[in-house]
């Protein structure tokens, strides 16, 4: 079974590039060049140097002792929360900004939901001195004021998306419209493993550093580079794809992707895409998305803005459909409790996104001694207001 992209830009039934002709030249330019740029020795040298000296990689693989005792398995945390800007998002923006430079682009656009990808994009634009425009839903701008301020301080222009539901999917639409209007000098840094081919593959490759390091670290710490289970949360799915990437062909490793059930899968306020969605096309690729019978995209809900997306990347849809990955879901309440638990057991406040993956540990049964890796995709600083309200802190 091939779990990776084929020459047509598909993962089994999913993927492709469902874009209007206006975007074709931009996407086609990327499709033709991305792999040769990424494989270029000079590019790799610069990419690795920035990941090491600027982002702070490799991120530690930390054996969480008290959590391990509680669950009766060896729980390893891949500490993406320790990266510069506080999440895994920067792995991708570093890669894409270097790529944009190689393509001769002068202007960068991005979409953002909670603001993490927007901040990671504004950061690398400041680093390289490129113009940066970030589209963000009007509703999210109000909800995420500190990240808006960070982006502005970094020199980015934050443009409110006022169409549709005024959240992440609408910000993505606005970024695509900007790209239509600026086809020559602009590169669009998509923040997840979504969008038209080659984005899902390109972003996955930039995030795959997570599993590459994990394997090496597992080997050092356990003697084997394989784990029994690898867990990550999934919105669009970029940290999960980075966490799974180098384990995908090791079929003994069970891959568990955790979606946001919101207030409950059947509550009408959920973002559990694989449970509630159907096959369709959104933002340029064929995948699984939450939609009405008539094909209109449904607005999702999750307490965690980073998981509040009505689709998943096409490679995830393929892993789900082939059964290679297990796709589960965790409610808002379960995630917040898991966030508190990690804080009190290990002294690490996780992003609520990552807390969804941690919460799934409660649902697993261990014989004892299994090696389990959880991707701690981001830190919880940005979520303090939500934690404060929920726990009356």
């Amino acid at each position: 079974m091939n779990y990776f992209v084929d020459e047509r830009g598909y993962y089994g039934d999913f993927g492709g590039a469902y874009i209007p002709e206006m975007l074709y030249p931009n996407v086609e330019e990327l499709r033709q060049k991305y792999q040769s740029v990424i494989d270029d020795e000079q590019f790799q040298k610069e990419f690795k140097a920035l990941l090491k000296d600027y982002v702070g990689r490799p991120s530690p693989l930390y054996l969480a002792k008290r959590l391990s005792e509680k669950y009766g398995a060896n729980i390893f945390l891949k500490r993406e929360d320790l990266n510069h800007t506080g999440a895994h998002k920067i792995n991708n923006t570093i890669g894409q900004i270097l790529l944009a430079e190689k393509l001769g682009k002068k202007r960068i656009i991005a979409e953002t939901g909670a603001g993490q990808h927007g901040v990671a994009t504004a950061t690398v634009c400041a680093l390289r001195g490129l113009e940066c425009v970030v589209y963000m839903g009007e509703v999210d701008i109000k909800r995420q004021a500190p990240n808006v301020a960070r982006m502005k301080m970094l020199g980015a222009k934050v443009v409110p998306a006022t169409s549709g539901s005024k959240t992440l999917k609408d910000a993505t639409n606005e970024a695509m419209r900007d790209w239509i209007a600026n086809p020559v000098d602009t590169h669009y840094i998509i923040g997840s493993v979504v969008g038209p081919h080659p984005y899902p593959d390109m972003v996955a490759q930039f995030q795959s550093i997570i599993s590459l390091e994990t394997k090496k670290q597992l080997k050092e710490q356990t003697g084997s580079d394989l784990a029994d289970y690898v867990l990550a949360c999934v919105g669009g799915g970029s940290n999960a794809m980075g966490m799974f990437y180098h384990f995908i062909d090791d079929e003994s490793v069970k891959l568990i992707a955790v979606e946001a059930a919101g207030k409950g899968v059947d509550s009408g306020f959920s973002a559990a895409t694989t449970t509630l969605g159907k096959e369709g096309v959104l933002h340029g690729s064929r995948s699984i998305l939450m939609q009405t019978e008539d094909g209109q995209v449904v607005e999702p809900h999750s307490v965690s803005a980073g998981l509040d997306y009505p689709g998943i990347g096409p490679q995830h849809a393929h892993l789900f459909k082939t059964g290679r990955g297990l796709y589960a879901s965790i409610t808002d309440d379960e995630a917040l409790q898991a966030g508190l638990l990690l804080t009190q057991y290990e002294g690490i406040i996780p992003a609520i996104e990552s807390a969804h993956a941690l919460a799934y540990l409660e649902k697993m049964e261990f014989k004892g001694g299994e090696n389990v890796v959880v991707c701690l995709s981001g830190r919880g600083d940005k979520d303090m207001e939500t934690y404060m309200k929920y726990f009356n802190l």
């Binding site: 492709g16 209007p20 002709e21 639409n173 209007a181 159907k278 340029g284 094909g295 209109q296």
Partner: protein, 255 residues
Amino acid sequence: MNRLQQLFEKEQKGLLSIYYTAGYPNLNDTLKIAETLEQSGADFLEIGFPYSDPVADGPIIQASSKQSLDSGMTLPLLFDQLKDLRQKVTIPILLMGYVNVVLQYGVEEFCKKCQEVGVDGCIIPDLPMYEYEEMYQTTFEKYGISNIFLVTPQTSEERICKIDGLSNAFIYLVSSAATTGGNLSVSESSTAYFKRIADMKLKNPFVIGFGISNKETFDAANEYANGTIIGSAFVKNINKENLEGSIRAFMGQFR
């Protein structure tokens, strides 16, 4: 030969097509608008079926789509509204919308229904050429539905030739790098682009759309193309309180 192909065989210059969103400004005006447009001189029509995430559209068509969806428009309802289409309207009709809505309805069912109600073609901007050719071309052709492709100033000549080969009615020339609803400024670069396409001597006629909003842009586009398409400017001018009057007044500028 469908009505669209017959029209282009008969008329080679100055064709005028109007786009409007089904279900806007009122849910059940779809057929009434088509009739009024035919009476006031439109040569063919594009009826938009709304989608929640119309990335190729600017603010005016986004807003009309949203209002239409909020009023309850769906593709099955649109086909129902169009069931007496051919008793009232004789000019060619295209449906325009995004691929996900068609996929959920079923591509074969969609084409079959188009043929049944008398729709001649469709424009699905996010259905790529590759997917059309591989998966859907035979179905479209089986039901006599012309699929219309878009060409932009950035489309390579090689790709335009490929599109010409796959088209059987006309090619939709997007006037400039923009979403719908902009204002085409008739500049040297846009006329050079129109002329470049005209000089390619394609087998299909071509029609210019996006940003055509007044007599000046209409005339400029017609100088090179077989016709023009007006969308946002028309949608913006429809007056809910005076539907027919506002349509006739708008069309009076051109006809």
